[in-house]
Symmetry: C2
Subunit: 487 residues, 2 copies
């Protein structure tokens, strides 16, 4: 159905060309309207070999304000890209609010090659794409996808023409002609892929580009009309995240029993032993190219920094990155909230330690009313979907909540305030957060309920005693790495 495009008939070429000029001007006005309304737009252009993607992109950009769009052409992924989840490089390139990202082929380039084999991998990729496009649409991105179409005969003619011209012959090679020979099979695959990914919030439009002038005209018309529709009637509706995730039991941190303080001698011995074991496991993880993502959350003054330090100083600094997450920068705030986490994922074989994480979405952003309730509510399953990407990629995902009680926090705050070297660690904000303990506690319980999943369960760390907490963190890390190496 997607492919039922009108056949070109005789027409007044001059008239159509003038209309194209007008469409390009109209598009530049629309671009400014999108900018004013702070709507980010993604335009993806896929199509058969030699279907004229490059020229179509030229026609699209002709009158656009260069400050407000970026072009991402189809490239073979580099090593660092191959060592990240499939969509990593596209997450990296999403435009900020009010700007346009124009993708040649984009995330459909890789999926088409394996779509036909009915593999688990292909099914996962389709699901990843669905999540990616839905999460963006749900966050206010306008997502438009185009496929430049030509029939077998028209493609063959264009390939021949390119090949026979001295200045363009390098653009075509034998695989293009092979593709043409297998056109019917490929058409079938392509149709099924597009049907499977033709979402209301990220629809495909097929443009018949056998005649470039008519093709350009209908492409620009469609882009203009889609943008106008979005400006007048709002973006096409995107559903909330819908998958069910199996939940993993997790104790209620508020009622957890705190163990007695650990003896100094036992602590020192365990610490030394665990650090040596983790150091060695790290080098095996590195050689086996397993990525590791470790998340630290907890009350202010619960001892996240101290636990992370005991862990990180046992690791080879060349094999991990430590990300201390603070308030988002202007670059970060103007994109989907997962952007700054996606872009910080490690390479396979490397570790990323997050001191505070994407869970800020459903904690601080909720309690401090920084985000609309509908959006942070989506956050639970958006996060589960994000973590599913990590797990499928092969990552070890560890999530720690460092629990202390209110009295312990008070004692540590007072200590920080009274100790000159620690004063920089305590601010008015810490006291303000403390005053909202009850609200944070509710947010915490909801977070654990919704995001302690079988794929990525939470570990609650009893942290009234710092020594116990550090040892439990290290032990959990050690066991998780051992398990990953066994598999």
């Amino acid at each position: 159905m997607l492919f039922e495009t009108k056949k070109p008939k005789e027409y007044d070429k001059k008239l159509i060309k003038d209309e194209i000029d007008l469409l390009q001007n109209r598009l530049s006005v629309l671009q400014q309207a999108l900018k004013e309304r702070k709507i980010p737009t993604i335009i993806l252009i896929d199509g058969w070999s030699a279907s004229g993607k490059g020229r179509m992109m030229s026609a699209l950009n002709a009158e656009l304000e260069p400050r407000d769009y970026s072009v991402f052409s189809s490239t073979t992924p580099e090593i660092g890209e191959l060592r990240r989840p499939f969509l990593w490089r596209f997450w990296r390139d999403i435009p900020p609010k009010g700007k346009m990202g124009i993708f040649e082929r984009g995330w459909y380039r890789e999926v088409i090659d394996c779509f036909d084999d009915n593999s688990r991998r292909a099914a996962d990729m389709i699901e990843s794409i669905e999540v990616f496009e839905r999460q963006l649409a749900r966050d206010g991105y306008l997502v438009l996808k185009y496929f430049l179409h030509m029939d077998k005969k028209a493609q063959k003619e264009r390939l021949d023409r390119l090949k026979d011209n001295e200045t363009t012959s390098w653009r075509v090679n034998s695989s293009d002609f092979e593709q043409n020979e297998q056109y019917d099979k490929r058409f079938d695959t392509r149709s099924r892929l597009m049907a499977a990914t033709n979402y209301q919030y990220a629809p495909w439009t097929v443009i018949n580009n056998e005649d470039r002038t008519l093709g350009t005209h209908s492409f620009l018309t469609s882009v203009c009309e889609s943008i106008e529709h979005a400006l007048e009637h709002g973006l096409p509706p995107a559903p909330p995240p819908g998958t069910m995730f199996s939940k993993a039991q997790v104790p209620n941190p508020s009622t957890i029993i705190m163990p007695p303080a650990m003896e100094q001698k036992k602590y020192k011995e365990s610490l030394k032993k665990l650090r040596e074991e983790i150091h060695e496991l790290h080098s095996r993880i590195y050689r086996k190219k397993i990525p590791v993502v470790m998340c630290f959350e907890g009350w202010d003054a619960a001892g996240k920094g101290g636990s992370i330090r005991r862990l990180s100083s046992a690791l080879d600094p060349r094999g991990f990155d430590l990300h201390a997450i603070a308030a988002p920068t202007s670059e970060e705030i103007s994109r989907h909230y997962l952007w700054r986490f996606f872009t910080r994922l490690p390479k396979t074989g490397h570790m990323a330690i997050f001191d505070r994480t994407w869970y800020g979405r459903v904690m601080v952003e909720r309690v401090e009313k920084l985000t609309d309730p509908a959006r942070w509510n989506d956050g639970y399953d958006e996060i589960n979907e994000f973590e599913r990407e990590l797990v499928r990629w092969g990552a070890v995902v560890l999530k720690f909540w460092l629990q202390i009680d209110q009295q312990t926090q008070l004692a540590r705050f007072v200590d920080r305030q009274e100790t000159p070297e620690k004063q920089h660690k305590i601010t008015d904000e810490d006291w303000r957060n403390r005053a909202k303990w009850g609200e944070y506690e509710q947010a915490l319980l909801d977070m654990l309920e919704h995001t302690s999943t079988e794929q990525a369960p939470w570990t609650i760390i009893e942290a009234n005693d710092k020594k116990f907490a550090r040892i439990k963190v290290l032990k959990t890390v050690k066991e998780a790495l051992e398990k990953a190496l066994e598999e």
Copy 2:
């Protein structure tokens, strides 16, 4: 002389270890002082194979605030990095003000391999490094370089020990042992390289790391003392750029004779022909992997945008990027001003078009007093040095100044104000800039005098007539590409 380190003797290991703890704490306090003073710091750690670089980095980071430092380990460059100038990836990674960048081997990794062959390339690399470190130091970066040393026998012992241990044997390979066999020759090369790059503003310190405890102690002592010295007495002085660049003649734009308006018919024909020629040249440039950097500067309303559009729409959008340079973001303002240009350089075979450029340093930053006169004065030769990097890398560098007279600007401003679709192109700032015509004219003349070099001359475009201007731009581009393809 660099390598005359004290030999370890008998010592109280427990005492030294306690001192290391103290040094790590002292460093964390110093880190906060650097942050408050907004001083960016670069610490580079090089050393023989198996000299303990990883552990030294761990010791360095042990008590640092993770928010305020980043680690860059030594990696083989990826394709996208190889297709940029040698220092591109290190420019990309320089820390912002107040933060620390810790580099394992960094830019010395690549140069050591070719330093011995006395090639032109090695000499160029050394010059590039000198410029890089000096420009950073001159901009307020504290640059510290360490080499972890051990003698031939100590290295052999450590390699053997690594090899014999099951968990570490993968870390060493035959090339490490080969290195050890050729130690004397390598020592000689290394000494000469370090002597050649031992600048007062970016000095080398050799740390004898045969005994790790003593090595760590002297390393941390040196880092602490260097930072304390910088905090108390200021950074080590870095000289201004000193190279002489051969100048290329350029007419005075203020007295240039504007040609008569071009006929519409002739314009249309020339435009069509030039665009076709450039389209084809672009594909040859792409295949020959020549990078192209095109800079557009000119008075407000001189027609930069229109000229760029006529050029860019003739190019395949997959082969160029258009960078519209506006006021720097907070990420950009907190680094050396060339950072945002270095990071935007194209891959070989690609083109980058800059709508406004690094010349803002000596134009708007000067006239609007955004930058200290001593610093923008450095800018001329810093820019010449930057462009020399581009030329050595093999880039075609084109720099256009679009010249109009004051009356023409007034007429265009008025037209913009009176035409609804053009109103967004004119702001109060344009009028304020216009009021400073004289000051900008002086800045322009100084800029042309200092930066129209033989390696990268300016082209003045007479732009009172837009058609003439566009044709002259396209013609200049065409000829430059042809010339590059002939070489």
